[in-house]
Each structure stands twice: as structure tokens, then as C-alpha cells.
Amino acid sequence: MTQPSTLEKLAILADAAKYDASCASSGTTRRDSKGSKTGKGIGSTEGMGICHAYAPDGRCISLLKVLLTNHCIFDCHYCINRKSSNVRRARFSPQEVADLTMAFYRRNYIEGLFLSSGIIKSSSHTMEQLIESARILREEYEFRGYIHLKTIPEADPELVRRAGLFADRVSINVELPTVAGLTRLAPDKSAPRIAGAMDLMAGAIVEGRDARRRFRHAPRYAPAGQSTQMIVGADAASDAEIMTKSSGLYGAFGMRRVYYSAFSPIPDASAVLPLKRPPLMREHRLYQSDWLMRFYGYSLDDVHAAADPGGMLPLDIDPKLAFALKFRDRFPVDVNRAPRELLLRVPGLGVRAVNGIVSARRMRRLDLADLARLTQSLTKVRPFIIAADWRPVILADRADLRAIVAPRASEQLELFA
């Protein structure tokens, strides 16, 4: 067989990488390429990531997201690159990846590189190759843009640690929310080992930050922290189990982000997994719950309370509204008096709107007209608030409340359109 061209290899290895949801390029330190040693340095990061394009799946394209190779000695059923899958295989050298990254970056197509790999020869060998690509970019091209390296939990701990010296972000995928799911669907992976590698990384990140505090010239270590990804819908885990796992990951390993990836049909899928349309709405609800826990002060118990007895979040309404409908006695909330924490629990009020209310009510008492200017939709908010000229019917009395505040079916369909 002839060697595939760069174009063919890119097609294969980008296609193989698209099931990783993360494409973030934010949250790292500010850097730029002015005054680099040779004057040839390229690249900058300014805190906020940039999405340079969007694919028709609505996902941001911020980084060149590829695998070094899609050959793999593992046989994880959900993965397109598993050993028993009959897909075309290809392999980049670290130099080719670095050159491709520079070619794209100079034309302003991307913010940087997100490099992952199937496992070849051994986990440590694969990890060395990943690190080498990043090293070429940083040291030989003086590349100052963003690098995200996927870390292989089975690799030598010293290599896992080294990855953070070149990368802005490192990630290890937890893959499935339960150990049973992992054993069944990713038989070559081990849950304790994944947790061990995350712990190692968390320790190295804290150490790196500490060293920077004491020595100004200490090298930066993975300044954008670590993240992970869970596949949703490939095993039987409920939303409650997923959120429990996720909250544990944020707590134990200081994760910057946990990504939820709806299991999506893949070519030449394993027969163990029934293929169906990816549960996109479920994925969306999980992200919303994640947000509630990180930015709206909800506890894990609150999110559990929003779920049904089987631990599943409702699909037709968002988890915040589900929570409010369940605990109607906590509403209405007076927008002119209530503390910030309670305002954040009102369905339809986002962080921006709450900030606006808290700031504006210092000037005068707010009425509905003010709220109309501060919020997206007054109809959604009105049943849950008290304003200067407004007091709703007691919520517990209204049997039809859900029908009033729940979005119409057509609005929901939009997400699938």
C-alpha cells in the first residue's frame, strides 16, 4: 500500500479526533510573541479563547484537534480507533504535527494544538511522542499559542508530569461515569489508574503554582489546568450518577472543566453498543446542571433533587426550572430585597441579569418595566418574583404552572434542527 499523503492523513486523524468534545483555548496565562529571542516567535494567548470557525454541528473550532496516530492496542467499545475496528489507519510524526500547527496558526485558522493519540507500542512510548510534538513547537518554533495535550494514564508518571511543562492544558479522560461501565466498555483501562494519573497531575499543577509564587523564574506548569471527558449514553449510568461523579472530579482533582459527550454513532461500531441518535438534549441538561453547580451555587443535592426518582433530569425543561417547580414554597423572590444567592435560583435570571438587578436596585425600587430591560424574557421570570408593582399568585395554588413556564415544544426542537 502506498503511503497516504498529508492530506489523507489529516482527514483520517482529524476524523478520529472529533469525538473529544473539548476545544477550549481559554483560561491560560497572557503571552505574546513580541520580543522573542530570535524575533521569529509566533503566537499569543489573552485569557479569552477564540473560536476561529464553527462546524455545522455547532461546535467551535479553536484548535487543530488531531491524533498523532489512530493505531491503538486498546479495544474500547465506544471508540472508533479500537483495535478491532475496521477503519483506515494513519500516523503523523511529531515534526509533521508541529509543521501543520504552524502552517494553520500563521494563517490565523487556529489558536493552537489539541493533540491526542491512539496507543502504539506502549503507553510511555506514545506519551513521549506527544510531548515531542509540543517540545518542537515550543523550543524550535518559539510557539506562544495554546497547547492541549491528552495524557495517557498508563504512561510513566515522569512523562505525565513532563507534559505540563509544554502544555497549557492537560487532560485525562475518565471516559465512563461508573467503574462497571468502564470494565464493560473499556476493558483495557483501569479506573484506579485513571484516578491515580489525575491525582498526580493535580499535585504537579499545585506544586507548579506554588513554585511560581516563590521563584519568579520557575517554569509555568499547565497554566490552564486539567480537564476530563465523560461519555453519556453508552452505559446505563443515570444523570444523578454522572453529576455525582463529576462533582467528585471537580472536588478531588481541581478540574477546570468536565466535558460531557453524548455517545454518537461511529463507523464500524462495536456490536456491544446499540447505535442510536446521540442524546444531545440529555448532554445539554448535564451541562446546565454542571453550570448550576459551578456558577449558581447549587449543591449536588440540589441537582439530585431536580432529577426524577430514577435519577434522570427532565428533558423538556431545564434543571433550574425543574428545581423551582419542585420547591415552590421558596418562591416568589423579591427582586428588591432578596440576596444574590436567591436571585440566582430564579428560573430565567442569569448571572448577568442578577448583577444588573443588584446594581440597579441600589438606585431605586425596580418594577416590571425595569426587569423587562434587564432580563431576556419577562414571561418566564414573572411567576417567581415580586417587584415594586407585581406580586404573583401563590405558586403552590397553580396546577398549570409548568405549562405556563415550560418552553413550547417547537423551541425545543430547534436544538435538533
Binding site: 498529508t6 492530506l7 489529516l10 482527514a11 483520517i12 482529524a14 476524523d15 472529533k18 510573541s33 513580541k34 522573542s36 516567535g41 509566533i42 499569543s44 489573552e46 479569552m48 477564540i50 473560536c51 476561529h52 470557525a53 464553527y54 462546524a55 455545522p56 454541528d57 455547532g58 461546535r59 467551535c60 473550532i61 487543530l64 479495544d75 467499545h77 494553520f104 494563517r107 490565523n108 485558522y109 518559539e142 470494565t183 464493560r184 466498555l185 454518537s264 454513532p265 464500524d268 461500531a269 462495536s270 456490536a271 456491544v272 446499540p274 447505535l275 442510536k276 441518535r277 444588573g356 438587578i357 446594581s359 440597579a360 438606585m363 425595569d370 430591560r373 434587564l374 436544538l415 434542527a417
Partner: protein
């Protein structure tokens, strides 16, 4: 009604000249000129406006009147105004001046986010901020070679007056490159050391293509997942007005059009798996007989169901039925079955009390003359058939499972094992049963004499372990 006070017409030097505007505004406030008397005249506006008024009284003067009070502007205001000033809305400076005027008597006005003017300036500033961000995202450079080496040139059409405001970003990012950004409002040129401004340009001034674009378009098409089509989300963040200058955008219609067919094809390939497992062994056997989920199921042979008590404590899993088994419709009745029975008897293992079954339920073979030669099933075929084995295990619930050979082990563990490394010890299965893996008795039949004796001893030892469990 009182008579109208005379209006003043104040020029703004350039569309994005916020500093110049701020100087003028300060003098106007000090001169006490109310917002409804000021007309801001932007470059390119038609002279002799219907409402055009007198030149402003004191604007050309060098210093404001000594007695004039200081003009107040909060930090919030300056930050928002600096951005809002770059908006294409011709009335933006009226809004900025009106707010500045009101700030003189209500210094905390900017905190009132529900105020109409505050909302309006906030909306303008956010639009500009987004436009600045989108320019950073959607500028696409193309390389030109000239006497100085490589220069990267881009053609871009901003929605607002943001070109100059964005210069710093591109300098910080591409300091080590020579580049030019051409727009209908003007141009920026960086030579590695200084940033120069140029006159408005045309699309034709920029190069028409770049060799890397084929790679980029391939990447764009490959990273798209057809099973997750969300066109609305894409258009919201990448509005159509930018598409004409994006080399990847003309792929979008075809990607969308083919997405549903690609997704349906993937689902159809694996889709037969859906459905509930049978609830009795009889139903299971009937369903297996009709199974056509893989090529073996379609080869015209008869399915061979499992055999033995429903409440068996031990389940023995082989690879697949052979020639004899297919004819008899029962597992383990051929030569390999005989080897298994002989060893089981020696080990004290009662196979009549055990459930005997196979990883794959149809006979995979190639005809050769009058014979049908056994062929090993592929990993995918085993995985497909695993659904039946799982259903059978669920109904029988054996406490101990004996897997004969690597195919059986794959059907139980879901991975390809190394037989020599994993044989001969118990491992727990997900339902709590104990699994022991050993070689397949047919393997003994294929070995030479010396090797057979050694292997038979190991086989016997493994069976003895199961008998003792």
C-alpha cells in the same frame, strides 16, 4: 413654547476618533451646551445639513475657561464609551454625549443597568466587542512571496470601525511575521518592527488563494460530526455575512446536505441490536434461530442453541458449533466435545448438570469438496453474538463460567485476551459469577503427540479447578 436655542455643529475627525471626541465633549459640557443643541458631524457626512448650526463657541480655544467645573466621567462610562464610539451607528456620539451630560448631575448613573441610555450604550459596546472578537477569529491570511520573503495578507470586512483598535492584537500575536490586513476602511501593515496604516483597499488587492487552504478545508470537513447537526448554533456564532471571506465556508451546504444520510447509514449498520432481550430460554432459542445480524447468521446453517438445565451452576462456553453440532443441533457432540467429556469425567465435573453453549451460534465454515472446514469468527462477529450469550447468562445465572478458548473469553470479557497469560485463574464477571479461561479442546486435537500431553495436563488442571469451585 420657548424659542429654540441655537444648535452647534461639532466635527469628529475620524470614525473611531474617541479621544478627539472626548476633548470636544468636555469643552461643550463646560460651555453648558445641552445634548439637544449638539450635532456631531462625522467624516463623509453631507455638508449643509438641514439642522446644521453654528460652529461651536469655544472649541478651537486652547484652554477651557479657568472657572469651569471639572467634567465628571466614571471609569465604567469611559470603558463602555470607548468601545461604543467604534459602532457604525451614526447616532452613537449623541448617545455618548447625552450620557456624559446626565453623569454631571447623577454621578452613579452607570450603576442603573435598567436605565434606557445605560442599556443602549451597553448594547453598542457589546456589539463592538463582538465585532472585534469576530475579526480576531475570522481574518484568514494568505501567503505571498516577494523580495523580502513571505508576507501574510488578509482581506477582511469589519462590521464596525474596529480596524485600528484591533491592530495591537495582531501585532502581539504575529510579531515574528510580515503581514497586512486590508479592509474597505483602511489597511494595517506590519513589517516585523513597526505598524503602518494604509488607505482603504479592495478585495482584489489581496491574494486569491493559498496552498494550505486545501489542508484547512479537509480539516474542517473531517472534524465535523454528522450525527450532531446543529445549524442554528453554527450560524449564531459564525453569521453568514462572514462566510464570503472564509475559505472553508463553501463546504457547509454539502456537509449539511449529506449529514443525515451519513448518520442514518451508521445507525443502520449497528441498529439491529436494539430491542429487549428474550425472557425465556425457549424464546431465546427461537430468536437465535432467526438471527441474521452477521454474515454467519446468513450462511444458511442451523443455529445451535445452548443445552442443559435452566438453573445450572456451571456454564461452559465454547467457540461455535462445528460440523457435527450443526447437524445434531446440540453443542459439544463432535470430536472436541468428546475430548471435553473425557477430561470432565476424570476431573469429576458433571457436564449433564452444566449449561453448554457457544460464543457464536451459527457454524462459520468454508466448503472444501464434501467437507465443511471450520473458520474462526472475527472479533466483530463475536461481539455481535455476545448479545445472545449475555441474554442466556441473564436467564441461567450460572455461578461459575468456563470459557474454552480465546473466542469464548472475548464473548465474556469484551476484549481479546492472551490465553496463556490469563488462563487457569478465576476472575469475577460483572454479575458476580466467577470466570475461568482455558484452552479449547479442539486445540488438543491439533497438537503433536508431545505437545498434546503437556497441554492436556494443563487442561485437566484447569478443569479440576472448576470442579473444586
Amino acid at each position: 413654547m420657548t424659542a429654540l436655542a441655537p444648535r452647534v455643529c461639532v466635527p469628529v475627525a475620524a470614525h473611531d476618533d474617541f479621544d478627539g471626541w472626548r476633548d470636544s465633549a468636555r469643552r461643550l459640557i463646560q460651555a453648558g451646551i445641552a445634548p439637544d443643541r449638539v450635532i456631531w458631524s462625522l467624516p463623509g457626512a453631507v455638508a449643509g445639513d438641514l439642522f446644521a448650526g453654528d460652529p461651536p463657541p469655544d472649541l478651537a480655544g486652547d484652554a477651557p475657561p479657568a472657572a469651569a467645573p471639572p467634567v465628571l466621567a466614571s471609569r465604567d462610562y469611559l470603558e463602555l464609551a470607548g468601545r461604543a464610539a467604534l459602532h457604525a451607528d451614526p447616532a452613537r456620539f449623541d448617545l455618548l454625549y447625552r450620557l456624559l451630560w446626565r453623569l454631571q448631575t447623577a454621578p452613579r448613573l452607570m450603576d442603573d443597568r435598567a436605565d434606557r441610555d445605560v442599556r443602549a450604550i451597553d448594547a453598542l459596546a457589546r456589539t463592538v466587542r463582538r465585532d472585534i472578537h469576530k475579526m480576531r477569529a475570522f481574518v484568514r491570511f494568505r501567503v505571498v512571496e516577494d523580495a523580502h520573503g513571505e508576507t501574510y495578507v488578509a482581506w477582511f470586512e469589519p462590521g464596525h470601525h474596529i480596524l485600528r483598535a484591533n491592530g495591537g492584537f495582531f501585532v502581539r500575536r504575529f510579531a515574528g511575521m510580515r503581514w497586512s490586513i486590508l479592509t474597505p476602511q483602511g489597511a494595517l501593515h506590519w513589517d516585523g518592527e513597526t505598524l503602518r496604516e494604509g488607505p482603504p483597499a479592495d478585495r482584489g488587492d489581496a491574494p486569491a488563494g493559498d496552498p494550505a487552504e486545501a489542508l484547512w478545508r479537509t480539516y474542517y470537513a473531517s472534524i465535523f460530526n454528522p450525527a450532531r447537526l446543529k445549524i442554528g448554533a453554527m450560524v449564531k456564532e459564525m453569521p453568514r455575512r462572514y462566510w464570503k471571506n472564509l475559505p472553508e465556508a463553501d463546504l457547509i451546504p454539502e456537509l449539511i446536505a449529506s449529514a443525515q444520510a451519513r448518520e442514518a447509514a451508521m445507525i443502520a449498520l449497528g441498529g439491529e441490536q436494539a430491542g429487549r432481550p428474550p425472557e425465556t430460554l425457549a424464546a431465546l432459542d427461537a430468536a437465535v434461530a432467526a438471527c441474521r445480524r452477521c454474515a454467519i447468521g446468513c450462511n444458511g446453517t442451523r443455529a445451535v442453541p445452548g443445552h442443559g438445565p435452566v438453573d445450572a451452576r456451571l456454564m461452559v462456553v465454547g467457540e461455535q458449533p462445528g460440523d457435527h453440532e450443526e447437524l445434531a443441533g446440540r453443542p459439544f457432540v463432535g470430536p472436541a466435545g468428546q475430548v471435553l467429556r473425557d477430561h470432565a469425567r476424570t476431573a469429576g465435573l458433571d457436564l449433564d448438570a452444566a449449561r453448554l453453549t457457544n460464543a457464536v451460534r451459527h457454524f462459520k465454515h468454508v466448503p472444501q469438496g464434501k467437507q465443511r472446514l471450520h473458520q474462526t469468527p472475527t472479533a466483530r462477529e463475536i461481539d455481535t453474538c455476545r448479545w445472545w450469550l449475555d441474554a442466556e447468562r441473564h436467564l441461567v445465572r450460572p455461578r461459575v463460567v468456563l470459557a474454552l478458548g480465546a473466542s469464548a473469553a472475548r464473548a465474556l470479557l469484551g476484549r481479546t485476551i492472551s490465553l496463556q497469560q490469563e488462563r487457569g485463574r478465576f476472575v469475577p464477571l460483572d454479575d458476580g459469577a466467577q470466570l475461568l479461561i482455558t484452552s479449547h479442546p479442539a486445540y488438543l486435537l491439533r497438537l503433536g503427540e508431545a505437545a498434546r500431553v503437556a497441554e492436556a495436563a494443563r487442561f485437566a488442571a484447569d478443569l479440576a479447578l472448576v470442579a473444586g469451585a
